[in-house]
Symmetry: C2
Subunit: 525 residues, 2 copies
Amino acid sequence: MVWDAWGIPSGHAPLPDRIRTLVAQVFGVSGEPVARRDEGDVPLRDSMLTAAQVAELSAVVGADHVSARHRDRLLHAGGKSTPDLLRRRAGGPQDAPDAVVFPADHDEVLAVLSRCAELGLAVVPFGGGTSVVGGVAPEGGRFDSVVALDLRRLDTLREVDPVSGTATLGAGLTGPRAEELLAGHGLSLGHFPQSFEFASIGGFAATRSSGQASAGYGRFDDMIQRLRIATPSGTLDLGRAPASAAGPDLRELFAGSEGTLGVITEVTLRVHPVPETVAYHAWSFPDFATGAAALRAVVQSGAAPTVLRLSDEAETGLNLARSGDVGGSPVAGCLAITTFEGSAAHVDARNAEASALLAAAGGAALGDRPAREWERGRFSAPYLRDALLDIGILCETLETATSWSNLPELKAAVTAALTDSLTGQGTPALVMCHISHTYPTGASLYFTVVAKQLDDPIDQWLRAKRAAGDAIAAAAGTITHHHAVGEDHRPWMPAEIGELGTRVLRAVKDAVDPAGILNPGKLIP
Amino acid sequence: MVWDAWGIPSGHAPLPDRIRTLVAQVFGVSGEPVARRDEGDVPLRDSMLTAAQVAELSAVVGADHVSARHRDRLLHAGGKSTPDLLRRRAGGPQDAPDAVVFPADHDEVLAVLSRCAELGLAVVPFGGGTSVVGGVAPEGGRFDSVVALDLRRLDTLREVDPVSGTATLGAGLTGPRAEELLAGHGLSLGHFPQSFEFASIGGFAATRSSGQASAGYGRFDDMIQRLRIATPSGTLDLGRAPASAAGPDLRELFAGSEGTLGVITEVTLRVHPVPETVAYHAWSFPDFATGAAALRAVVQSGAAPTVLRLSDEAETGLNLARSGDVGGSPVAGCLAITTFEGSAAHVDARNAEASALLAAAGGAALGDRPAREWERGRFSAPYLRDALLDIGILCETLETATSWSNLPELKAAVTAALTDSLTGQGTPALVMCHISHTYPTGASLYFTVVAKQLDDPIDQWLRAKRAAGDAIAAAAGTITHHHAVGEDHRPWMPAEIGELGTRVLRAVKDAVDPAGILNPGKLIP
């Protein structure tokens, strides 16, 4: 990815006229983008790594695979939250790791961790670099130097078991590359988060990622059969069966450990045959509460679409503005989307059951087109954010989850917190929301916030974010459904797991990483 | 339950003639049952608890709720494995806890743990007492005295959320009582392990129980939304949303912790409306491999029956002998059972999809009767074991799980290990097997072993069990799919989680139970 924005250059495009006009009107900005810096011109803080330390690391992975070059350091300077991107655009020297290490395999990761523990170097495991919560910030904690441990060379499909429907993938494989390798065996993983194009298998596991097809294929943590983990104290190979009663499930300690307890080097995952058929359906509901009740009926019945989502009135309205550009037709009220994958008979049966429930709950069928349009554009929102940032608009997302009965209260509380904070600071705010992950007992809420950038847009957002996080904690939501904790959500971890839960995490940390080199400042309060 | 056998007296019945004739022929026993001791006549080891210690515990829970009476101690003397039952029938003084404490609620559990840590008393949390792996053995470890902490008074349905489909249940509720309370709200949990009639909600969670309807409603750990846990270091309240990316899932550390890390006092569970319809179907397959492939096709398609199981040739043959007594008709080859629950439309659609797959895979439909017979008798096998033990027959079960591709090898390895061990010791052995829990990536294998009791039947079984456990570990199965670890499976835990995994568990144990009072000798190697 480029250093100061999402994705690759070819993904970047000027803001569609319709959106530019809309936001210029609402927020009173000119709509003219500011120029961004060339990456070669960006000053970095000096690397503190000594030549001796570089030599030690080179002895483990080879001199070609340790880099303190400007470009490598810049491209590992952190993740892609809006504050991250605003900091990159802010001028002045950028923070960055002191060096980047590129190990070849599990054993090299293990050796690097061991060496870094001896040398007193902090280690930030680095997959796709798509974190939006400060999960890969080059934070050294109590150490003088920090190295980014880039896992891109762990990029093999090591084993496929088509009978059991499992595949063992290297942690450094990106989403598209993993799908490409699996497709060679007629298989698919079906994990499509918005970060899909750049994020890595190891990162998905380390952050409990959840993809847009989670209704059908589950969250990434649901797919995990086995984990191989390198820690400063040795290797863990966890998971011996599809299910087990052999004590606590330690995989669930390392899934979501965000590089603080070890480095996931290999993941064995549930996969499925590339589906024979995919069916697309869109629905309109008069309001969000009606739509949410309809989604609930579907997921509680076990009708199991592959994708099941619902946009609120504000988001449906913006989709209208966006889809206008690609020839879509207006959708009133709240837009819901279902897709179904599998054999033709399976798809037909599921769609019949789900459609009957959605119609009975007040949905009006819209045909397949809005669903296909959603799928076509589903990875492009982060590019749109960059185009908005370029014209002085603040744009960021945050997400939570709760039970179905608590969903209306949580949505109202977060919307109010964001709106009040931003309007109080002096800008109108557009707060949109959708449900994209459903469970029998509840659902996620994903908020997109658009406002005008004020004098200090980073501080502006952090205030709004703090208000939203406090509202989530007060309204009994989880601080994150699929973005993970990183640095940014750490203040709310005590609300999630309590004081004793925190002590449990610290005890595990001390057992596997006694020197405390792994991803300082993330996750663990 | 009675002290020396499964269940309640009214469940006990003489061995059906057909079975008695069969086993008398195969194993050369007379078929005449031996008399068992009256519980009042059974000597127990002396209680080591001092009057001062009893007074301290009474100060917490009230004098009426601390008992060192013979009967209370006898009824908490351990679980219901075959070695447990053989030890009870063996004569001589029985091991037992020094006292039994019956706390009223979470706060009393917390206070009891705190007091026991100060007094240096080991604590064995006790639910239904149905463990078949030594999970509730009155083991004091390095402590002189051990108290059983009986949770039966934590027996309320504290909260129902019908919109979200969740209910908060006290840890001491038995399966039937939980279903009864939920039925008052039109709801059901759908967790029906063979121990259902006696086991408790807290025990299900602490052992990662899995019920016969797991294909439809999931394992018990899948149903857990929130856990409330009392530890010597304080309270944990875990679980804030249906799913979360807020770090490691600590619920998964305490699910399956078997009373070694804390006492689960309250569980919030996913529940569902009492189903409108239940459909029953039975199938015959020519052999186990064909049947297993058929089950795999069903579960991998997502057709999701509520119950999905397959008996091998030997077990189908014995079912034939048993079902003869209840008017069933012979089933050739391997018997498979499916049930479907939900709305009529849902049941029809699922059954149509599953039936087409089972028929295409070589299954012959047998109608509903064998499935209904299976359901009628599904909790009675442990009573049959008692009747067999009474006539000098050894009968025990063990279970494992693995991937679909490894299933044939694991089944053959365990069958050979059991058969070789028992025949080597001098008795023919009947080893039967079924698949009762299926996943997209694999399945469980549940073995029932019948042999003649030799001179030292406990040692005889432990040898066979050791051979089977070693075979499971060597063939990459899990040492337990749903019976848990207890004392009996502890030797194989290093094979499950490795040396570093063991250190992680110990670190967690030290954080929550620094004095080490909780369930000594169980789970953690």
